[in-house]
């Protein structure tokens, strides 16, 4: 079995487990509805700034809820398979891709829920989806890394937040600023130019993790 077949099989397995634990998806949906309902109920006349802030903060919590436990779930029934039989690097790549896809789906769902309860027209839908993907893929990588290194620590959930929040914070900040421009565009706004730093950070993270992950398990 080639490495990419292994990665694909592991991603499939993770989606299958996710699908079997339907209550988790229900809980995430409940969270989305709950949060957006709170904003709908209490915010009144909402501005583009508040909408964007509410969206990105909700997405941050969503990322921690769904991405924080990805490695912990393997410590149970699949422990022997996940940590002995397959290459740890392939395990990490598959988990990262799974988290990115899952978070991307959740971010679009959150957008739809927000659109239903807090309707706000985003001028450039395609750019918005591209922005979401770039931000989510970087956040997903960072959360996967934090989850991987805190697997063997005590107080995992808090540790994941402590490890990933300071690094995720500027990415969310940039997402928030660019997102606001997509809602109420400025004359000088150039989407392609504005996402360069985000792309830079993303490739930086990828390159770094490719270098670091083998160092952790190679002993």
């Amino acid at each position: 079995m080639n490495w990419h077949h292994q990665v694909a099989a592991l991603i499939r397995r993770d989606f299958l487990f996710e699908w079997r634990n339907l209550y988790q998806i229900g809980a995430i949906l409940g969270f989305m509805l709950g949060v957006s309902y709170i904003f709908y109920f209490y915010s009144g006349e909402i501005s583009a700034r508040s909408w964007s802030l509410a969206y990105w903060v909700s997405l941050l919590f969503l990322s921690f809820f769904s991405g924080g436990k990805i490695f912990e779930s393997d410590l149970g029934e699949c422990r022997y398979y996940s940590f002995q039989l397959i290459n740890p690097f392939i395990h990490f790549i598959s988990k990262s891709i799974f988290v990115i896809i899952e978070l991307y789906i959740y971010s679009i769902m959150l957008w739809l829920v927000f659109w239903f309860l807090l309707p706000f027209k985003i001028q450039f839908g395609f750019q918005w989806l591209a922005l979401l993907f770039i931000c989510i893929s970087t956040i997903g990588l960072i959360i996967s890394f934090a989850s991987y290194i805190s697997m063997s620590a005590t107080g995992k959930q808090i540790l994941i937040s402590i490890l990933s929040l300071p690094i995720v914070f500027p990415i969310l900040g940039m997402g928030f600023v660019i997102g606001m421009q997509l809602i109420e565009p400025n004359i000088n706004f150039n989407f392609i130019k504005s996402i360069y730093p985000l792309l830079g950070i993303q490739f930086f993270c990828m390159a770094l993790l490719i270098f670091i992950i083998p160092l952790i398990w190679k002993s």
Partner: protein, 353 residues
């Protein structure tokens, strides 16, 4: 014995040097305030100037005063009366028209003396006009010969508006950050060495350096906050560099939390070393890339020059560079003490077992 300790002696000497010269070297004379600062075209005005570290009474007749709009348009005072070493008044006949299409214009105020040199307070004067007549304005404002100002060459720190005496904080605040990055860099070197060779000493060195870096980072934040209180009138702002620096500290505090939360010693060393590499690389875009992409109050960001002639002159450099070396050496000393303490604790634990 001296061979081993030369760098510690050097650290102490340099530290005394920066404390002594950093505090005792005076600032160059400068203009603290001018009043009034708002004039209408056609007015005959008397401007009162408040000086700082100035000696207006020395060769008082040689003082010249100017209102400067741009590199070619300026107006010289026709009379200057020196009141005291720190006070003088200058009289101007503001022409009936300004050399601009705008009704409001900002201008700088300049005092010049052959020995004290030129002093400037930028954009302090506001000029207004009711009617626009560029042709008439050009004849009265245009400098046919370039404005020749004197330069004061002395062993003094530059006088900068807003900063005043706090310019000395450059030797502490900036040097602490420089030293912090040097420690983080060295700690990554030891982390990589540990991950390659699995020598416990490397991990202990890396940990000691990160802890010292965090201490210096916190001191850098505190001195920065104090500086901000004086210059920007607030303890904390939304300035990007300031907030990214705070995030840097959070990233490294997470390193300490990570180390404390893993029980297995071998795993703790391996994972924290890997995180240390990740942390430094994650910090680089936060501190060096993002602040350059947006507006920032810090020099070197958002288009502001860093270490240019506007921010730093050669006298400042004479204290600044030694201060970077002094703080780095003192930090290395602290880190070496921490390393030796941890190493001894480890040996004692081994003996107990």
């Amino acid at each position: 014995m001296l061979y081993d300790k030369w760098w510690k002696i050097l650290a102490v000497i340099l530290f005394i040097y920066i404390l002594f010269f950093g505090i005792l070297i005076p600032l160059k004379p400068g203009i603290l305030n001018v009043s009034p600062s708002r004039f209408n075209a056609g007015d005959q005005v008397s401007v009162k100037v408040e000086g700082y570290n100035s000696f207006f009474l020395k060769e008082a007749e040689l003082w010249r005063a100017f209102i400067k709009i741009d590199s070619i348009h300026s107006l010289q005072a026709y009379e200057i009366n020196v009141i005291s070493d720190t006070e003088l008044s200058s009289k101007f006949n503001i022409p009936a028209n300004l050399p601009s299409n705008l009704n409001l214009l900002s201008a700088s105020f300049i005092l010049d003396h052959p020995k004290s040199g030129a002093m400037l307070i930028p954009s302090k004067i506001i000029l207004s006009q009711d009617s626009i007549n560029l042709a008439s304005a050009e004849s009265s404002w245009l400098n046919k010969t370039k404005l020749k100002l004197h330069y004061r060459s002395s062993f003094e720190f530059p006088y900068r508006n807003i900063l005043y005496e706090t310019i000395r904080n450059t030797f502490y605040h900036v040097s602490l950050w420089f030293a912090m990055f040097i420690f983080f860099g060295f700690s990554v070197y030891h982390s990589i060495k540990f991950l390659k060779h699995h020598k416990i000493e490397d991990d202990l060195k890396s940990n000691a350096l990160v802890n010292t870096g965090i201490l210096f980072g916190i001191l850098g934040l505190l001195t920065g906050s104090l500086w901000a209180r004086f210059t920007w009138d607030t303890w904390w702002t939304k300035d990007i560099k300031l907030n990214m620096s705070a995030l840097t500290m959070l990233i490294y505090i997470a390193y300490i939390v990570l180390r404390a939360s893993i029980q297995d010693i071998d795993k703790k060393r391996r994972i924290s070393s890997a995180y240390n590499i990740f942390a430094l690389v994650a910090v680089i875009p936060l501190i060096f890339v993002l602040p350059r992409l947006t507006d920032s109050l810090h020099p070197g960001n958002g288009g502001n020059p860093a270490f240019g002639s506007d921010d730093m002159d050669n006298v400042l450099r004479m204290v600044f560079y030694p201060s970077v070396i002094a703080f780095t050496l003192i930090g290395l000393w602290i880190a070496s003490l921490k390393y030796r303490l941890d190493y001894c604790s480890l040996k004692i634990e081994d003996i107990d077992e």
